[in-house]
């Protein structure tokens, strides 16, 4: 291929790249199709439940005027953390020039993209009037910026999505063109995305932290705690994804990046536990009316104990996970490490999902106790969004496999030569 030919116009080659990406993303062995079919089925169940919720109203959820946010906003908050957690691969790769991490850093960015897509979906399904979504678009609607923290969140989440889409898209497009990526077209964006990752979770914490009428949330500890737990759940998920890629995509990934992530989690999981202890101490030692929510969460309040088993499960999971992560076996034995990842991921999903959102509403601002349990519709929609997020991630990972493999079997590149046929991707 001549160099001159390489300098073709992007308006021709970019659509070709997209077509190629779609072809690569939809080719795979039987297991891949089975996985995608299952995810599609779950996503469709969610879509159907959402359609019913839109038509019949949110009476189909378990939410009330007392507990006016539930499972959707809990998952939204958690997924913002997973999205931000991807930065724990970007920082070693770009700031500390960890070469092995640099080779797989696109993984963190793709997880961030999928997680943000899920965040946006979780917020959308929580809207009573999704048909008025356009009121939120700056210029078109009436964007209450900078007063409403929700407008800040709309901005930071969408910009974070665009930053990561740009970086991944650019790197993959260059792969397609068989050109080395030019640093100036992506490194500045990566550096901005590091700061931005912190911002998305800080702003999301500010959504709750800024409400004076909700003492459970109105704590300066919330944002730092959000970040600490994000830097547990995000890396835990990334480690699990790397093991899955080894197992199911046959990728020969180096263990360096996994070890780096484990070393990060060893610190962040302890910081997170320390903050839980600090919060519990502050709530219970002084006592008083503002303790009621924490009492509901940890001990039950006036006979209502809906979250008590959940929060103690979360704490047990996080403590056990911390022990496993800190044990030397975590670096040697895969089952130990995977168990630690799963336990901490689930533990934080409970703790900063339902464990954070629901006690903010119980007791209510007039100190009434109305409990909340998600309805079947909420579980279906939530499962559907998780399935869709995993679909986005799977497809994105398939396109990025050549980069992750770091070898010459460049199925993504135009006119692939190294492989016998375009379908021979493993």
């Amino acid at each position: 291929m001549s160099l001159g030919h390489d300098r073709e116009q992007h308006w021709i080659s970019y659509p070709r790249f997209l077509v190629r990406a779609v072809a690569v993303a939809t080719d795979g062995p039987f297991g891949f199709y089975a996985w995608m079919t299952v995810l599609t089925a779950v996503a469709l169940v969610g879509a159907n439940a959402w359609a019913n919720q839109v038509v019949q109203g949110m009476i189909t959820t378990g939410m009330t005027d007392h507990v006016s946010w539930g499972l959707y906003i809990a998952n939204f908050t958690f997924m913002v953390g997973v999205a931000a957690g991807g930065v724990m691969m970007v920082i070693p790769a770009y700031l500390y020039h960890d070469e092995e991490m640099h080779n797989v850093v696109i993984l963190g960015e793709l997880v961030a993209v999928s997680a943000i897509v899920m965040c946006l979906l979780f917020v959308t399904v929580d809207l009573g009037r999704p048909d008025r979504f356009w009121h939120l678009i700056p210029g078109l609607g009436r964007f209450n910026f900078p007063i409403s923290m929700l407008t800040w969140d709309v901005i930071v989440l969408n910009v974070y999505l665009l930053l990561n889409l740009h970086v991944c898209g650019y790197l993959l497009y260059m792969r397609f063109l068989r050109r080395p990526p030019a640093a100036r077209w992506y490194v500045p964006f990566v550096l901005v995305s590091i700061v931005w990752a912190i911002s998305i979770h800080t702003v999301t914490a500010f959504l709750y932290e800024g409400l004076g009428g909700r003492p459970f949330w109105n704590s300066a500890l919330l944002a730092p705690r959000f970040l600490a737990s994000a830097f547990v759940s995000g890396p835990a998920f990334l480690i699990a994804v790397m093991f899955a890629l080894r197992r199911f995509a046959g990728l020969d990934l180096p263990s360096g990046p996994v070890h780096t992530l484990v070393r990060i989690v060893r610190i962040t999981i302890l910081i997170n536990l320390l903050m839980v202890v600090s919060e519990v101490f502050t709530e219970f030692y002084a006592g008083g009316a503002h303790t009621a929510s924490a009492q509901y969460l940890f001990l039950g309040l006036d006979g209502s104990r809906g979250l008590v088993p959940w929060i103690w499960t979360a704490i047990a999971f996080n403590v056990v996970a911390a022990g496993l992560f800190l044990h030397p076996a975590a670096l040697r034995r895969a089952p130990v490490l995977i168990s630690a990842c799963v336990l901490s991921f689930v533990g934080i999903w409970i703790e900063k999902g339902m464990g954070l959102i629901i006690p903010g509403f119980i007791p209510s601002t007039l100190h009434e106790i109305v409990e909340y349990a998600p309805s079947l519709v909420e579980w279906k929609i939530t499962a559907g969004i998780w399935a869709f997020g995993l679909m986005v991630l799977t497809v994105a990972l398939k396109i990025a496999l050549p980069i992750l493999a770091g070898r010459g079997d460049d199925v993504l590149a135009k006119n692939p030569r190294a492989t016998a046929s375009p379908v021979a991707v493993r």
Binding site: V55, G128, P130, M149, L150, L211, G213, H367
Partner: protein
């Protein structure tokens, strides 16, 4: 790729299969979201494209009020008269409740329910009455679901509704400016602009806001046909609403429905800027207090004991 005929036909077979899969997937998706097909009948293009209240001119308002009356007639069997009552200059509304005489009879709650066309199925109202033990201001010891003769011994009663704060946290958090404070002090919602995110409901320290979890049900003979755009017109499904000091009445010189219904005379309503008003007399002569003063919300709703 002419040198790989087998590979090429394999590619074609794959492409056909992928096409089939995509078609099946699209068909399954269309089936999954089929319940939405009912929406165009319920959601007109005019409603979808309606501008924010503050961007409407008089012509727009006339058209919209007409459309809303048509919709109400279609859905509820009664054609209401929906008007847009503007705030009057030189007016700042305030409310005070005498906790020494409030007996917890709940007439205000019922009156609000009827006046404001609340959903019958959920028995909605903008007012909640807390039954509190004498000697305590701890709402944690209050009870809103008492079902016995009132007033009970050793109890006092505290009705709570929107406090029409001068520093309302609910309007600050709204991402689309669907709720704001009017010049006469009333915090209102444009029910046709609210996106239903319920951030205001989380932000309000007084449990003053309500969400329409479903389309309100009201029998035709119970609909209050005297309605205001920013007040008691029947709300759409999926939006937030709140107490508006009955602005469709009070901006025309009448009293709020909850006050008219109160048999004890506990409620005092008026214009703070009018030195001769009852509310001014109360504020100047009684030792009034506001709820959760420490939050800095500056309520226009006051409480006092007078014996």
């Amino acid at each position: 790729m002419s040198e790989m005929p087998t590979g090429s036909s394999d590619v074609q077979r794959r492409t056909v299969l992928k096409g089939l899969g995509a078609t099946l997937g699209a068909a399954a998706f269309a089936t999954a979201v089929a319940p939405l097909r009912d929406l165009p009948n319920r959601l007109s293009a005019a409603e979808l494209m309606q501008k924010h209240y503050k961007e409407l001119d008089e012509d727009d308002k006339r058209t919209i009020l007409n459309r809303l009356e048509d919709e109400a007639a279609r859905d509820y069997g009664v054609r209401p008269e929906i008007r847009d009552q503007p705030p009057r200059s030189g007016t700042k509304f305030a409310y005070a409740v005498n906790l020494s005489v409030c007996s917890g009879n709940g007439k205000c709650v019922e009156a609000c329910h009827r006046e404001n066309n609340h959903d019958r199925a959920t028995n909605q109202s903008y007012i909640r009455v807390l039954e509190m033990p004498k000697g305590s201001m701890d709402m944690g010891r209050g009870n809103t679901t008492y079902r016995h003769g009132v007033p009970a011994e050793d109890k006092f009663y505290m009705p709570v509704q929107c406090q029409q704060c001068d520093e309302p946290p609910c309007t600050d958090v709204c991402p689309v400016q669907a709720t704001w404070k009017e010049p006469d002090g009333i915090v209102v919602v444009d029910y046709n602009w609210c996106i239903g995110c319920r951030y205001c409901e989380a932000a309000c320290p007084y449990h003053a806001r309500r969400f329409n979890w479903k389309k309100p049900e009201i029998p035709a003979d119970e609909v209050n046909p005297v309605q205001g755009y920013l007040s008691n017109r029947i709300r759409p499904q999926g939006v937030v609403e709140k107490c508006h000091f009955c602005l469709h009445r009070t901006r025309e010189g009448r009293l709020p429905a909850c006050l008219e219904a109160c048999p004890t005379g506990a409620r005092v309503f008026g214009n703070l800027l009018d030195p001769a008003s009852d509310i001014r007399w109360i504020l100047e002569n009684k030792r009034v207090f506001v709820l959760k003063e420490e939050l800095g919300t500056k309520p226009s709703f006051f409480y006092f004991f007078d014996k």
